[in-house]
């Protein structure tokens, strides 16, 4: 690697820093850990730059390093990774909650489009809070698939689980996320009454 390569790498990292930080924050829920994760990712990426075959794929490649760094550290921190990854015991409310169905109450349709209104009123902070409130195993799969656009097989490879596990965790996570958004909307007085 020569000075031109180093300059290219530095420019790409600077361009992607916001996005890497945002993703790291969604994964770690903590600004200090997110900053450490980004810094560690940059160091690892430079150490492995010789493995990058296609410079057009740099963003996907460095995000993969970030995700893998987080997941391996996450597993290392767990005393019982099998128990932690099970996660589902943390939510005993099932996996079939739908925010759309809660909003789609016939009496509301007389004078408004409640789904459009709810989406329009959804604040960034509401989504951040709902996502941060998910159990870790569920939050990570949402961050991989919904936030970063990973396919189910790609997410399965990062997490070291079968595709079926990704699918089921995603279903539960999304139901939990939507339930959290619904509760917030009720608490904020954005939707009438309690339908549950």
């Amino acid at each position: 690697m020569d000075e031109r390569d180093r300059r290219w790498f530095a420019d790409e990292v600077e361009r992607l820093t916001d996005r890497l930080y945002g993703t790291a924050l969604r994964l770690t829920r903590n600004t200090e850990d997110a900053e450490d994760l980004v810094a560690e990712t940059v160091v690892r990426a430079w150490a492995r730059i010789g493995e990058l075959r296609d410079r057009q794929a740099f963003e996907a490649w460095i995000r993969r390093i970030l995700n893998n760094s987080f997941v391996s550290e996450w597993r290392h921190r767990r005393a019982c990774p099998e128990v932690a990854l099970a996660a589902s015991s943390l939510d005993d409310e099932g996996d079939s909650f739908s925010l759309f169905e809660q909003l789609h109450q016939p009496f509301l349709l007389w004078w408004s489009n409640p789904e459009e209104t709810a989406i329009a009123n959804l604040l960034r902070e509401d989504m951040d809070r709902a996502l941060d409130g998910l159990p870790e195993a569920h939050r990570v799969v949402v961050v991989l698939v919904d936030v970063q656009g990973y396919s189910y097989p790609e997410a399965a490879e990062v997490l070291g689980v079968p595709v079926g596990t990704v699918r089921s965790r995603l279903n539960r996570a999304r139901a939990q996320l939507q339930r959290a958004l619904w509760r917030h909307a009720q608490e904020a007085g954005l939707v009438p009454g309690r339908r549950e």
Binding site: Y21, L25, F100, R124, L131, Y152, N171
Partner: protein
């Protein structure tokens, strides 16, 4: 395909994780069923909000830290 069938596969469809035949059947259903189309649009917008949640300006101290790392390479 019934509405129940579509709703069962909807999120996987939006994730582009269903096979081509199933995707075509769902496409056709959504073109003619306003209820399922509304549901699909809602879930799509919610997904877009999630994707946007990763956009977060990095703090200056992180930028300085990354620059320090890059300067050492």
């Amino acid at each position: 395909m019934t509405c129940e069938d579509v709703l069962r596969e909807l999120l996987a469809y939006l994730d582009r994780e269903v096979d081509a035949d199933t995707a075509a059947l769902i496409d056709r259903h959504l073109q003619s069923c306003r209820g399922c189309f509304s549901r699909a649009e809602f879930e799509r917008k919610l997904k877009a909000h999630l994707e946007a949640s990763a956009e977060k300006p990095a703090p200056e101290r992180l930028r300085a830290r990354v620059k320090g790392i890059l300067d050492k390479f």
